[in-house]
């Protein structure tokens, strides 16, 4: 049987002013009909570049510098733009990552489908319309006829991704390249979309390449796997072999870094193979250092953080008459206590209100009702009270997106020093600088980073800057809102290790918010499960995973990608 797609020795180059960057070097892979090939790797591995190179849509100035790309026995290299246009959509379909942005917001999905079908299959308007309707049915969208007239924003994320898949299938392609098709989706939707892709692959006997950084996705859907690292394929093989008995050292460390959902480990396996991970910097002794001062002064009585009866509604539609108003109850009667030194997790899907709770506690939103107490001090009813202000200082927040949460125009020194200066926690400017240097050393970034600007750092390093900044006001409570969901798994492991170490040393109380159940299991002592703004269940982490009490919790746990394949297979 000949392969559908065969790539050999593929080189992709991006000429830049500072020399040529090789995004792919000697890449070889093959896909057969009815097979799902997983292309896995971390950011910068060049996995998306391969997909773009196949259909000749590399971002300029990128170009294919060498190698073979054979599709159904014919070479795809050196084709004219017009020839490639007949291949794109007709014979090779693409699915992109973010369903929010892959559809033209100003056209109905019917218009977009009909346009593509007419181009690919040469049908007339009426036939194309009937075909579009059938496609929507195929990807599991009900009431297809009326939905054709809807605009993308009228669909939920998962439904939009179904529309994207329908568009990719419109030209009846033989190969589908899916670039991170489920990364932007909730777990429950993710499982549905993966099932859909797998089913379509089998029914239509098409080849599928799934590009992803997520080992869980690979474990769920792929038949064979290619592991990429820095532009090279380091290992190719059967999915069970790659995940169960990886041969290459990189694959081994990558898989070790994946948070386990099935049991709790004391620490994440350190990923030595990956550079820029655990680098050894001087660590300070918090017992004597400025940073530890608040720990030594702390008197432990009662919960560190306590919220009771929080309510918050957002107005979706303003109107004069109350019956026309539309409100969204984002947080509905949320109460919990967090003991000093405890890590309390909040888990839920997007829209469950978990981030909103964090923001209420941090004082970014004012609740409609309810009380927030930090170290026993009510901070929500009279936020301007000096006592409340002082209590607020003991709380700091680490945000999800390391790219937008640091001021790009400030040096790292000033970013980290800002809370120290603002709260006058140091005697002199010289001391401020010394403390900032110590903090940067302590979070594993090195004091030399102080002179640089945020854009010079990678996502993981930026998150370390955020952590240093949060520590700079000597907090007792740390709110981490999805602190690692924008990071690669190996980086995630090092950041989570760092957070744990800090918590242990400083006795920090942590509120840890995540949609990622395995991460929650590794990090948290107790967990609250949220849905539609309300808490379904609060339980110690281990009990929650072993014996979930609420139906919704059970549902979420069932949806976690199975990691059975990660168990080493007896050789």
């Amino acid at each position: 049987m000949t392969d559908l797609l065969e790539i050999e020795g593929l080189d992709v180059e991006f000429p830049t002013r500072r020399g040529t960057v090789k995004a792919a070097r000697g890449v070889g892979l093959r896909v057969a009909r009815g097979e799902v090939l997983g292309l896995v790797g971390e950011s910068g591995a060049g996995k998306s570049t391969i997909g773009a190179a196949i259909i000749d849509l590399l971002e300029p100035p990128g170009r294919v510098a060498g190698g073979r790309i054979d599709f159904q026995g014919e070479s795809l290299r050196g084709r004219s733009e017009a020839e490639m246009r007949r291949i794109r959509g007709d014979r090779i379909g693409m699915i992109f990552q973010d369903p929010q942005t892959s559809l033209d917001p100003l056209k109905t999905i019917g218009e977009q489908l009909v346009e593509t079908i007419r181009k690919c299959l040469g049908l007339n308007e009426a036939k194309a319309k009937a075909r579009a309707e059938q496609l929507l049915v195929d990807v599991g969208i009900t009431e297809a006829k009326t939905r054709l007239g809807a605009y993308p924003h009228q669909f939920s994320g998962g439904m939009r991704q179904r529309v994207v898949i329908a568009l990719a299938l419109a030209g009846e392609p033989d190969l589908i390249i899916a670039d991170e098709p489920t990364t932007a989706l909730d777990v429950s939707i993710q499982a549905q979309i993966l099932d859909l892709i797998k089913a379509l692959c089998r029914e239509r006997n098409v080849g599928v390449i799934i590009v992803t950084h997520d080992i869980g996705v690979i474990a769920n859907i792929a038949d064979r796997v290619c592991v990429m690292y820095r532009g090279e394929v380091v290992e190719t093989g059967d999915v069970a072999q790659i995940l169960g008995a990886p041969r290459h050292e990189y694959t081994r460390s990558l898989i070790a870094a994946v948070p386990r959902a099935d049991r709790r480990l004391p620490r994440f396996a350190s990923v030595d193979y990956i550079e820029g991970g655990a680098s050894a910097f001087r660590r300070i002794d918090v017992k004597t250092h400025w940073l530890g001062a608040a720990v030594r002064e702390a008197k432990g009585e009662g919960p560190a953080l306590s919220v009771a009866g929080l309510d918050l509604s957002f107005t979706l539609r303003r109107a004069l008459l109350p019956k026309n108003r539309k409100m969204l109850k984002a947080v509905n009667d949320v109460s919990f206590d967090v003991a000093p030194g405890e890590t309390f997790g909040i888990v839920g899907e997007s829209g469950s209100g978990k981030s909103t709770v964090a923001r209420i506690i941090a004082g970014l939103y004012k609740p409609d009702a309810g009380v927030v107490r930090l170290m026993g001090q009510d901070v929500s009813t009279a936020p301007r009270d000096p006592k409340a202000r002082a209590a607020r200082r003991s709380l700091q927040m680490i945000f999800q997106d390391p790219y937008s949460s640091l001021n790009a125009r400030m040096r790292v020194l000033d970013i980290v020093a800002e809370p120290i200066r603002f709260f006058r926690l140091a005697e002199s400017e010289a001391e401020v600088r010394r403390i900032v240097g110590d903090l940067l050393d302590h979070v594993g970034l090195g004091a030399a980073a102080a002179r640089r600007y945020p854009h010079e750092f990678s996502g993981g390093q930026r998150q370390r800057i955020s952590i240093a900044r949060a520590l700079a006001s000597r907090p007792r409570i740390l709110i981490c809102d999805e602190p690692t969901s924008a990071l690669d798994v190996s980086v995630q492991a090092t950041i989570l290790n760092l957070l744990r170490d800090l918590q242990e040393e400083l006795g920090l109380t942590m509120l840890f918010i995540s949609h990622d159940l395995p991460v929650i299991r590794q990090m948290c002592d107790r967990v609250a499960v949220m849905r539609h703004g309300a808490i379904c269940e609060i339980a110690p982490a281990e009990r929650l995973f072993e014996a979930p009490g609420h139906d919704y919790t059970r549902h979420l746990i069932d949806l976690m990608p199975s990691m059975d394949l990660l168990e080493p297979t007896p050789a």
């Binding site: 007949r86 992109f96 942005t101 892959s102 056209k107 181009k119």
Partner: protein
């Protein structure tokens, strides 16, 4: 949709009331209208009599409501200088200004959008570079210099277009137009180009920036990956998505064209409302000034209303939010 338009109309009404208040206060604070109307030797009694006749002795709110009432009926009083009703003067001059603004807006949009799309898509072609660098001239040179330069080149040197004035008009009874004769077009061309140059540059740069932004989006990549033709991608998907911000700016700029036509009309001695306004400033002709103020504000309000309605027509997401 209807509720949305009604709400916008209400807001427009409020704006117009605020402007009319400013315009009304001109009468009370800029000079003494009586002084402007009577001779040096008028007696105190004569002055007082005129004040009563003009209603200047009434309470301020009564005066203001009378002012608004007259304004709504299109009455703006009598020009101090020319001694004719202001509304007649404006109606005589308005066609000239509106035609000038209309022609230059068409020029600015036609050139600006076409060149913006071109330079946005073919970023590195030599034509794009030439367009971008020459367009800098459009923003950096003051309007009157461009006007004088054009007059020198086309009227004095080449002698193919008239240097100033508005000739070749045809009277349609209610509107004197210069767009029906060759002569009329010849006389409107230079001022319209002068007036449009700055706007064209703005639109070019805005459309280019928006196009480049949109070309980077996922849905454009996805459209390409489906093999859609260049034309469908560039015009069907990309251009339409640049329109919302572009329309905002174009709308505000057409308002500016009306307001800034003052300079162009002066340079080309174009008999429009702008020229009339400048002349009335010289003579502290308050009725004309205040009427002009109201008129410009009305134009802005109408254009913005049209822009808002266009938004809704273009972007379905706005429909949901406001309906």
């Amino acid at each position: 949709m209807v509720a949305f338009i009604l709400r916008r109309l209400m807001q427009s009404l409020l704006v117009m009331l605020a402007v009319s208040a400013v315009s009304f206060s001109l009468f009370n604070f800029v000079g003494d209208p009586v002084n402007n109307m009577v001779g040096q030797d008028a007696t105190r009694e004569q002055r007082q009599q005129i004040r009563v006749e003009l209603g200047l002795e009434d309470p301020i709110l009564v005066q203001y409501s009378r002012f608004v009432g007259n304004m709504v009926q299109g009455e703006f009083g009598v020009s101090y200088r020319i001694r004719r009703p202001v509304e007649d003067l404006i109606m005589e001059r308005l066609p000239a200004t509106l035609e000038l603004v209309f022609v230059s807006a068409i020029l600015a949009m036609g050139f600006g959008i076409a060149a913006g799309v071109y330079t946005g898509i073919r970023r590195n072609s030599w034509l794009s570079r030439v367009l971008l660098s020459t367009s800098l001239v459009g923003v950096s040179l003051p309007t009157f210099i461009i006007g004088i330069g054009l007059i020198y080149l086309f009227a004095v040197h080449l002698r193919i277009l008239p240097s100033s004035g508005r000739s070749g008009t045809v009277d349609l009874g209610w509107w004197k137009t210069s767009l029906l004769t060759r002569e009329g077009w010849a006389s409107i061309l230079l001022p319209a180009i002068t007036l449009s140059l700055f706007q064209a540059t703005m639109i070019l740069r805005l459309v280019r920036a928006e196009m480049m932004e949109v070309m980077r989006t996922d849905f454009i990549k996805f459209a390409r990956a489906r093999g859609l033709s260049e034309r469908a991608v560039n015009f069907g998907h990309a251009l339409k998505n640049t329109l919302v911000p572009v329309i905002t700016i174009i709308g505000l700029n057409i308002g500016n064209l009306i307001a800034f036509s003052v300079i162009t009309e002066t340079v080309f001695q174009w008999p429009g409302t702008g020229l009339m306004f400048i002349q009335s400033v010289d003579f502290v002709d308050v009725p004309i000034m205040s009427a002009y103020l109201v008129f410009v504000a009305l134009m802005f309000v109408i254009i913005n209303l049209v822009v808002d309605i266009l938004y809704v027509a273009i972007d379905p997401r706005i429909r949901i939010g406001s309906a």
